[in-house]
């Protein structure tokens, strides 16, 4: 049985092709089951995100399975094969393992290091497990992939730095205020931009929300959504006095927050630090405000600049991550090879015979005067017992593998009898 992946991603296919091959969440389960009904495929899992559509599968004959899957994709999406065949990649065995390890560690992502992909793989796997279309091979593969992703996350700094504008804003706020827990956020403007930015900060734990807007009703509406408080536009100074973080995104053509005003506010605040995030274009906050002591001002370009620098850092960390992936691919390959029938049988026989011999020797050393003939009988008897016990299971795993169960049995044997793989290393499962 061989493991493989068939798919396309943002590197191989333009968005027009990707979006036509994407599986809707509602149709995923049906698609899994339809692939499962193809006789050439033993296990399968579909990973469908906006940047990639991939089918991870195990099959006895990969060439046949590949053809079946291509036909399935073409039928399912009502596309002729010609339209997307060029964008497809087909990776078998070790290559497929490397691929999913890289995908799970977010090395294959559009933005390297963005963590969402791992969650998407987890739900794809959960769905495949629930639909019973995944088996031992994918099960082990995915658990290893999660393990690799965790190693990459903890051993490299690939996801440390913020690379999106909103995560940069959160990180800056944390550099200034430490814990965001009880911080007051003041939104100037009740538009979508403000709302999004505020949601991000609230998700990180920020506390109270104040909203002001030229049309007061909009401010009240948005404030209600956050369980916050609306402030009249003319009374903006009240908000500035109370806020820790000010997010401004109005379409006002002139500055709304001015240097003189903030100088005064800072005295009233007894110099309590304040962080302005000006995401408006044209800007809402006069640039000179950022020169005032204990005032921190970032506009959208500043945030973008920080984000871009962080992306460069990530690329360096990505090289370390690749090394981890390689290391894990080797480990996985060792386990996978151990699923061969012949070495498993040999290992099992060796282990049982070893036990038999040791026990026999122990017994014989207690009875040194036992005649030669009896010794021979004991030898024959114990051998016969071991062989009889092993006979049925071994016959079963040597049988033709119609249902793809052999690997399951072999893995069970290896686990239950504690048989080492080629490297002598236990390939333990970790989540």
């Amino acid at each position: 049985m061989e493991l493989f992946v068939l798919g396309l991603n943002h590197k191989t296919a333009p968005i027009e092709v990707r979006e036509r091959l994407t599986f809707q969440e509602s149709e995923l389960e049906k698609a899994l089951l339809r692939i499962h009904s193809l006789p050439s495929l033993k296990e399968n899992m579909i990973l469908s995100t906006c940047n990639r559509v991939e089918i991870y599968a195990a099959a006895g004959e990969t060439e046949k399975a590949l053809q079946d899957l291509k036909d399935f994709l073409s039928q399912h999406h009502h596309l002729s094969l010609r339209e997307f065949e060029k964008s497809l990649y087909f990776l078998v065995g070790e290559e497929a393992v490397r691929h999913i390890f890289r995908v799970a560690s977010s090395l294959d992502s559009m933005v390297v290091g963005e963590p969402q992909i791992l969650g998407q793989i987890k739900s794809a796997y959960t769905l495949a497990t629930e639909s019973k279309t995944s088996g031992l091979i994918l099960h082990r593969l995915l658990h290893r992939a999660f393990h690799v992703a965790k190693r990459v996350r903890t051993e490299t700094k690939i996801s440390n730095s913020a690379v999106s504008v909103s995560s940069v804003a959160v990180e800056l706020a944390e550099r200034i205020f430490g814990n965001l827990g009880t911080r007051v956020i003041f939104l100037i403007g009740a538009g979508e931009m403000c709302e999004l930015a505020a949601r991000h900060l609230v998700a990180e734990g920020a506390g109270n929300i104040l909203v002001t807007n030229r049309t007061f009703d909009r401010a009240v509406m948005l404030a209600q959504e956050f369980n916050g408080e609306a402030i009249r536009f003319e009374e903006m100074a009240l908000g500035l006095k109370r806020a820790d973080i000010v997010i401004s995104a109005t379409d006002s053509p002139q500055y709304l927050v001015r240097h003189d005003q903030i100088s005064k506010v800072m005295k009233e605040r007894k110099q309590k630090p304040i962080f302005f995030i000006d995401i408006a274009d044209p800007r809402d906050v006069e640039p000179g405000v950022g020169d005032i002591e204990n005032v921190y001002l970032y506009n959208i370009d500043d945030l973008q600049k920080v984000a871009n620098e962080n992306i460069k850092d990530r690329e360096k960390e990505a090289q370390k991550a690749e090394a981890i992936v390689e290391n894990e691919v080797v480990k996985y390959a060792n386990w996978y090879q151990s699923l061969e029938v012949t070495p498993t049988i040999a290992a099992l026989k060796k282990k049982c015979d070893g036990i038999r011999k040791r026990e026999l020797e122990k017994m014989l050393s207690l009875h040194p005067h036992l005649p030669e003939k009896e010794r021979h009988s004991l030898e024959a008897l114990t051998s016969a017992i071991v062989n009889k016990i092993l006979h049925d299971p071994l016959t079963r795993i040597k049988q033709n593998d119609e249902e793809g169960m052999t690997v399951v049995y072999i893995d069970a044997l290896r686990t239950l009898f504690h048989l080492p793989d080629q490297t002598g290393e236990e390939c333990k499962e970790e989540d």
């Binding site: 730095s161 002591e293 920080v306």
Partner: protein
Amino acid sequence: MNIYFFKLASLFYLLGTLFYSVYILFLKDALSKLAAVIVTIGFASHTLAFLTRYVEAGYPPVTNLHESLSFFAWMIVGVLLAANLKYKIKVLGAFLTSIALILMLFAFALPKEIVPLAPVLKSFWHPFHVAFAFLGNAIFTLAFCCGVMYLIQEHQLKSKKLGALARRLPSLKVLDDLNYQALTLGFPLLTLGIITGSVWAEYAWGRYWGWDPKETWSLITWFLYAAMLHQRLTVGWRGRKAAIMAIVGFFSVLFTFLGVNLLLPGLHAYSNW
């Protein structure tokens, strides 16, 4: 015996400084934990050095420059260990341990022999004076480190960089809070140090205050910290101003302790080295 423990403590502080530095480079939590353990062992050894010297000398060993430097370093590491219990600021260890190490090396270069106690130092009050003053100084050293870190972090944020440096330092809020805490603890200790010192002066020289350089400078230091506390509470001198004040205050502390002994003649400069 005491010198043996003293050397051992210095060695551990050196190792601690190294491990903290490597931690700052690679940000591996295990390294900072290891460094903390090493520094704790160094502190234990330093404590033994103090106790054995006390026994060998028969009086509290805080009477010459070697002993005071060592005592100051001991207090600084003690403050670090206490701060570690409450705050999770790992880089602080790198700052304070290296300062302690420098003091230890300085102390190591000075005459270390135990000499009969000068009569003027035979006082119930003298050890208290020294303990309060140096514990206060150690806490001001912590405030100084926070001030330096604050200025670096603030500069990073104002110049819109969020690089490796910013990520290694605590948030401005934590640094400012710690600075303030240090001030509220250090100031009363300094005050107590000056009061007990003046009581001791009454026994030793028959007057509470004599405007000798040490006394004058400790008063200047006291006024600096008093001003800092006052400004903070009334007009909110926090952040950058507080950080700068903590740094200025620390230099005043250093000058009072070392500069006066080295440069200005006076009653406190009794140790001839």
